[in-house]
Each structure stands twice: as C-alpha cells, then as structure tokens.
C-alpha cells in the first residue's frame, strides 16, 4: 500500500463502484445483487456499468424478499460464489435477521469449520430530509454484538474502496455500512486495486491532551472542527473504520497517553458501540484515566421526520466543541467560536450539502 499513487480525486460512490468492478474482475465467481442494482439509478450510482461489464448472471436485481435473499446468498457463498448484497436502507435488512444471526454469523462455528460464508452486506444509512424513523437507523451496535460478524464503516473514498475490497475478500460475513451523507464526498483514491485491513483503526491526528474516537458520519463532522480545536488542543483523533473487530490496541495506546477520551457514535446511546469502547477502556486503561470517558451519540429516540426536530436530534458541531472544551478545560473565545461555526451554517441542517434537493 505504501507505493500507491494517491493523486486522483473521486467520490465515495465512485470508489465503491471501482472496488466492485475490480473485485468482480479479480474473482470470476463474485456475484453482486440487490433491489434496483441494475435500474437507471444504479443504487446511487454505486453499481453503474457492472451488469454491462459482467452480465446479468453475475449482477442481478432481486424480488422484495430480504430474508430469503440473504439465505440464498449464504447458499451461493458456501458453494463457491462469494457475493455482495446491497440494501438501499439498513432498516429494510431487519427482515433478514434470522438468516443473518442464526445462519450467516455462526455457520462456520456451528458446523465445525466445515463451511465459511464469504458474503458482504452493504447497508445504506439515511439521515435528514424526512428519512424518519424507518430510514435512518445506525445499527452497528446490534450487528457487532454477534460473534462471527465483522462490521465496517468507511468515512472517506479511499477507505471505502479499500475496505470494500477487503470485505469482499474476507472469508466471513461482513456488514459494510455506508452513510448516505458520505456518498457525495470526494477524496484521493488510487486507481489500483488495494485493500485496507479490516480491524485497523486510522489515526487521523496525533496529540496528547485528548483522544477522540469516532465513526461513520461523526468522523466527517469532527474533521470539520479538528483544525479549529487543534489551535489550542492537542488531539489524538481516531477513525474506527472497523467496529468489529475493534482496534482496541490503537485505542489503548492513545488513551494511555492522553488519559481523556471522547467517543463519537452515530447510534442510539443505550448499548451503543460507545458503551463497549468505554467499557474496554475501563478494562484496559483504568489507571491511566484522568477524567471520566465521555460519549456523544444520537439520543435514545428514533429519528423524527420533521425538519423542525432533526435540528435538535443530531449532535451539532457546537455540542462537540463544548464537550471537548469541558473535558480539556480549555475555553474558546466565544466570538471566535461563533464566527467559526458560522462558516458551516447552511440554510438547511437536514441535507448533506446544498446540491441535495430531495427526495431521498
């Protein structure tokens, strides 16, 4: 990976698409399927040209039967056809919970290592523009509870491509979560086929006052304020990338150094990943903690559809800065802070960018 030329900027969507193309080329038996995979919208563009290139035997649309579709994918996976299934919202995939938990997650173990299940499950998570209670659930916590599953959430195009390729090659079932608001972000991505290891967090910045551990869209949020905070605070910023396996080694090292930790999580607070991380920090670094570990998550509330409510629902940049301030006892000039935050003010808080005009 060291020698990879990074000088090309593409979108998260294109990065996903590239990974799929390269992996399908690499493995002639790899299949891709999902509702709408070949329709004109091509799952937000992530599957474009796949069918054209690899044919409708390997790239196919499916009936609305999420539970059985996963079972069928499991059958294919164990008989020589690793595969990628995509759901346009994570929420729809709850229909497949029996197959996910009672079959995929434990098949390798419960059959004494006779059959493994190389399947990658792409789940898109919505936010804002009235997505509401059934189109916006961030359930990485639930998936990660189960032995046998891996859970991955990229936050930029480079990782999206590398992690997806790694997930596809992984011999186990991998839940691959794509936050809808990341789809249009852009970043440097090499043309080559490369992988990013599952289970390795990414150190985004190094510092000694505070460890910030983040995931999914929260990483992008924190990146917006990192520089501002760094003017006064030295921050170890870790983007998890993999929720499971969790890179406790990187976390440990950082917390032992800083003694203070803030976890940013996109899930419901109660029993979120942030609880597991804080607990593992307790188990591993208790005597290094200078201050109680903190977390910022969404509240224990389903996302309401109303524009008037999502405003209060999602943690704001100010919320995060205030918490960091509190933890490090470093105050910011309120006027300066306000000016800074104003640079992010857009008319609407419920869209990923001004380009977004609905409907979903």
């Amino acid at each position: 990976m060291a020698s990879i030329n990074k000088k090309r900027t593409i979108s998260f969507v294109d990065a996903i698409n590239e990974s799929l193309h390269l992996e399908m080329k690499r493995n002639k038996n790899l299949l891709c399927y999902g509702l709408g995979i070949n329709d004109p919208k091509k799952i937000f563009g992530t599957t474009k040209n796949l069918e054209k290139k690899f044919g409708s035997n390997r790239v196919f649309d499916i009936p609305n039967s999420e539970n059985s579709i996963l079972g069928i994918g499991i059958g294919l996976a164990m008989s020589g056809y690793p595969n990628v299934v995509t759901h346009q919202r994570l929420d729809f995939f709850l229909l497949a919970f029996d197959q996910l938990i009672n079959s995929a997650s434990k098949w390798f173990y419960m059959f004494g290592k006779n059959s493994n299940i190389p399947i990658t499950i792409r789940l898109v998570v919505g936010r804002g523009w009235g997505q509401g209670p059934t189109h916006s659930q961030n359930l990485q916590s639930v998936f990660s509870h189960f032995p046998g599953l891996k859970v991955v959430i990229p936050t930029n195009p480079f990782d999206a491509k590398g992690l997806l390729s790694a997930s596809i090659r992984d011999p186990n079932p991998v839940i691959f979560i794509e936050h809808r608001w990341l789809h249009n972000t852009i970043g440097d991505v090499p043309k080559e086929n490369y992988t990013v290891n599952l289970g390795n967090a990414k150190k985004i910045s190094s510092g000694k006052n505070l460890t910030v551990i983040s995931m999914s869209y929260m990483t992008v949020e924190f990146l917006k304020i990192l520089k501002f905070l760094q003017k006064k605070i030295s921050i170890d910023f870790i983007d998890l990338r993999s929720i499971k396996p969790l890179d406790i080694k990187t976390i440990k090292k950082s917390v032992k150094k800083t003694g203070k930790v803030l976890v940013l999580d996109t899930g419901f607070k109660f029993n979120s990943i942030s609880s597991e991380i804080i607990t593992q920090i307790n188990e591993n670094c208790f005597n290094f903690l200078k201050e109680q570990p903190k977390r910022i998550t969404v509240p224990n509330i389903p996302e309401p559809a109303s524009f008037g409510l999502t405003k209060y629902y999602y943690p704001s940049l100010k919320n995060i800065i205030d918490e960091v301030s509190l933890m490090t006892k470093i105050k910011f000039n309120q006027k300066e802070l306000k000016l800074f935050l104003n640079t992010f003010k857009s008319k609407y808080h419920d869209v990923p960018g001004d380009w977004f005009k609905g409907p979903f």
């Binding site: 329709d39 804002g128 523009w129 509401g132 509330i301 008037g308 409510l309 209060y312």
Partner: protein, 308 residues
C-alpha cells in the same frame, strides 16, 4: 374523491421544489381510481392500513387533508405530529390506522386489525393496501394464510403498477406466476380487475367489499394500474426509459381519473365536476395554508412519546 386526490397530489408536485416539504413523497397520480372507488363502500368503522404510497388511501378513507399536508411539511399539527412524514400517515378518527414504509410491513398489521373486528363480531372490514412488490414478501403469504385460517374480514388490495421502484416485474416474478389462482388455492376468494369502466368497476367493488363484510372472510383483489410520476418525488421520470413509451401512453389513455371525468361529462355532469373541483381547490389551498402556518414541533416534543 378521485378528483380530490389528483388535485392534492398535483399541488404537492407544484410546491415540492419550494423545499418546504422536506421528506420523500410517493405520489399516487395515475393510481387514484382504486382507492376512490373503494371509498364509496368503506365505512368509518372499517380499518385501513397502507404503504409508502398512501396519500390516496388515506384521503379515500376520509383522513384529514389538513393534517396530511401538515405532516408532509413536518409540522406539529400533522397527523403524526411531524414525526412520521409522508410515509407514516395516520388518522384514527376515521380508522386509518397507519401507513408504513417497509415493503410488506403493514400487511400483518392490517390482518391483526381485521382479526380484532372478527373478535368483536363487528360487520366491518380491514383494508390492506399493498403494491406488487409486497406480494414477494413472506409477510404477505403468512398473513393471507392466517386470515384464511381465522376467517378474517380483510380486504387485500394489490395495486400492481408493474414496478418496484424502477425494477420491472420480470426481474422479480416469473411471467407464468398467477397470483390470483395461487392464492385462491390457499382458500381465499380472489379478484382481478381488468375492466375500468366506471359503472362496472363500482359494481364489482361493491360486490367484493360486500362479500368480505357479510361473510366475514378475506378477499384479495389485484388491480392493474400505473403511476405517472417518478417512484419517489415530484417529477416525471420517463426520460429514464425504464418503461416503454407505448406502455406509458396506453396507461395514460386508460387513466381512471380522466375516464371518469369523460364518463361524467357524457352524463351531462360537467357542471358538477367543475363545482367539485372548485370546492376541492379551496379545501386544498386551505390545507396548504394551514400547513404553512402551523409551527414545527417544539424541542420538547423530540423526547416526548417514546413510551406511553
């Protein structure tokens, strides 16, 4: 009713670009006739549930127009206090018990509502709207089996518009699949609506609803129909070419709403139509005014209502 629904939906189309209806909308334009005809025979104490595409069903059940528009605007006066959005409509005053966004999700719920009518020994029915894609969900089959078993007065109405989002029936169901016969063999009376002549349609619907109501038994109806706008949103998406031009034209010619209008004009009801449309127009403008004027929910509403 048909006219009200069409006019409401067109007004949503008109205004969506203002960016004040900040939620997905799945319009019924082209499919209104189904719920409209049914509305003639629905009683207030009948239940109804629906899907992501529920505006027509909600209005046909006499759901409050103002509250629906306010919901789409995310306002506190909305039928779900702004928390559900266009995909989660409810009006318990008229026993429209909820529409939900997960394909197939409301089918068992409507079946349970029907079961409650049975237990109460009421001569009411439970109407369950669903799309063609929902017939691919296990919940559809499981629910039908249960309602046959328990003789539940449930009316399953499948609006087959040939598409799941942009996916053609043919990538989801085999061309020889005959759902009407298949369900019939499970023990439920089934009907396929092919003739859209207003009088015949009304008669047939009356017969069907009556059958379920009087015998306390489930029925299944398949309507062939067509949506004229995009799957989700206010635009026409025929430029995407996922449907054949001839097919679109064929269905536009069959448009239940236009045909009803023509039929009534033939019967010298032009004045009546104009009056209805005028009154609808007023009602609709009022509803939008109400929605625009209403307030968003309060911050305190956010945490309110997790538990009763």
């Amino acid at each position: 009713m048909c006219s009200l629904i069409r006019q409401v939906e067109l007004e949503i189309v008109n205004r969506y670009k203002e960016g004040k209806m900040r939620c997905p909308v799945h319009l019924s334009i082209g499919q209104e006739i189904v719920a409209s005809v049914l509305s003639i025979f629905i009683k207030k104490d009948d239940f109804a549930v629906s899907t992501h595409r529920s505006h027509a069903h909600y209005l046909a059940k006499q759901g409050s127009l103002r509250k629906m528009i306010a919901e789409i605007y995310g306002k506190r006066t909305g039928c779900s206090m702004g928390k559900g959005g266009s995909m989660h409509l409810i009006d318990k005053n008229v026993n429209f018990m909820g529409s939900t966004s997960i394909v197939g999700n409301s089918i068992p719920i409507g079946t349970g509502l029907g079961f409650s009518l049975k237990l109460k020994k009421k001569k009411n029915i439970s109407i369950i709207y669903l799309g063609d894609a929902a017939t691919e969900q296990g919940s559809f089959y499981e629910s039908i089996n249960f309602s046959i078993l328990k003789k539940i007065p449930a009316v399953y109405i499948c609006e087959n518009n040939f598409f799941s989002v942009y996916s053609d029936l043919k990538v989801r169901q085999h061309s020889k699949r005959n759902i009407i016969n298949s369900l019939n063999s499970l023990g439920i009376k089934t009907f396929k609506i092919t003739d859209y002549h207003p009088v015949k349609l009304v008669n047939k619907m009356q017969y069907i609803v009556n059958y379920a109501r009087v015998n306390s038994k489930p029925v299944f109806i398949e309507f062939l129909t067509y949506r004229f706008y995009e799957h989700c949103g206010p635009n026409i998406d025929d430029n995407l070419n996922y449907r054949k031009k001839e097919e679109i034209k064929k269905w536009k010619d069959k448009d239940g709403y236009e045909n009803l209008k023509k039929f009534l004009i033939k019967k010298n009801q032009k004045l009546f139509i104009e009056k209805v449309e005028y009154l609808n127009r007023k009602k609709i403008l009022n509803a939008f005014k109400f929605a625009e004027k209403s307030k968003f929910p309060n911050k305190s509403d956010l945490i309110d209502g997790i538990y009763k």
